[in-house]
Symmetry: C2
Subunit: 190 residues, 2 copies
DNA sequence: GGATTTTTAGCACGATCGTTCGTACGCTGT
DNA sequence: ACAGCGTACGAACGATCGTGCTAAAAATCC
């Protein structure tokens, strides 16, 4: 593996954290370079444009999210158990602060929902992969309306992120309780 | 009333919309001045600093939110009816696009949850006023855990905003259904 | 309607934005 | 040891950021 690839990873590692707290637009090349003790131009050369940096950052965030939340939950059998595992892993990952600035997807999707272009499309794809997977597991679990359950879980988790960062940490336990209640109905089904 | 006050209102009207879609930081004085066919310095003189402009924008957004959602719902008696009215008005206001860029609070709270300072405090106060009012009405309605219900409603409405802007409009009906279900328990209580 | 007090515009500033270019360093292969 | 290439750096670009200063224009008051 060339040296370029490893520094690229180092850059993106930091970039993901910066973007999760400052936003993908607030993520500036100069600040990022300073943080890493690199020159602006040296860093820039790895991507060619700011938009490419943003897209690479989204990709890196998706990889981190997958490694931290999705993959561990895949140890559980499909359907209700895996759905439960997804939720628990997600809330754990919020609590542990996997991303420095809270949920990466919450921050970036709020930022780019109004700006058409490749960046918005990439964020959308990331969120869609997550909600789609929730819906798929809900369907396997035999829920009558998987899309609705997926929406509810996604919302509660979004709210947990927003409230825990802005208002109080109680939000996380509220979210846990609400999600548990929503998943309880799965028990007297299978 | 001096002329300044009316132009200030004109500015803030536009500023609120711009901030709801570009964010409070992406809201730039030059862009705002261009939009209104004013000079940068002429506009700037009304506020003295960008932070003051941001704070005034938050205040104006709160006023619009109150006029559009809170006040109309106050026609209903306190407790369950008013709680229901709040939710309906809120979803209506999302659907009607009262703010150009979706829910103002969703956008700004995601942006500033990590940046301490007066702006974050003002956003926090605005959100807190809203969730606090939800909780108050839930308490009057006799809910056993008002904070939990307030959190759930807030989350669902946040999710409705995010999903409807990024994924699909179906989110609004999902939110309506989920909230209705959550409020149903209020019926066999009073 | 002239004087005075707002209110707006023009211009310039230092800083920082994304981006380009030329160049020097450190590998690797011969 | 030397050439070639990949990688990082420094300087500079035009543009735009937020922010002052000063003068013109407009609104207000007597």
């Amino acid at each position: 593996m060339g040296k370029a690839a490893t520094t690229r990873e180092t850059i993106l590692e930091r970039s993901v954290d910066l973007a999760s707290s400052e936003g993908l637009e607030g993520l500036t090349i100069g600040k990022l370079a300073n943080d890493l003790h690199m020159s602006k131009s040296g860093l820039f050369a790895h991507f060619g444009s700011k938009q490419e940096l943003q897209l690479a950052t989204i990709e890196a965030a998706a990889a981190r999210f997958a490694a931290e939340v999705v993959v561990p939950a895949q140890a559980f059998p499909e359907g209700a158990p895996r759905l439960r595992a997804y939720c628990e892993r997600y809330l754990d990952y919020l609590e542990a602060g996997v991303f420095a600035g809270g949920c990466f997807w919450a921050a970036t999707s709020a930022e780019f929902d109004d700006r058409p272009g490749p960046v918005r499309d990439a964020v959308r794809a990331g969120v869609l992969a997550w909600t789609g997977e929730l819906e798929r597991q809900a369907a396997i679990a035999g829920v009558e309306n998987p899309a609705a359950l997926s929406f509810e879980i996604y919302s509660l988790v979004l709210g947990a992120n927003a409230c825990s960062r802005l208002l109080s940490k109680d939000a996380l336990s509220h979210a846990r309780a609400a999600i548990a209640q929503r998943l309880q109905e799965l028990d007297w089904r299978s």
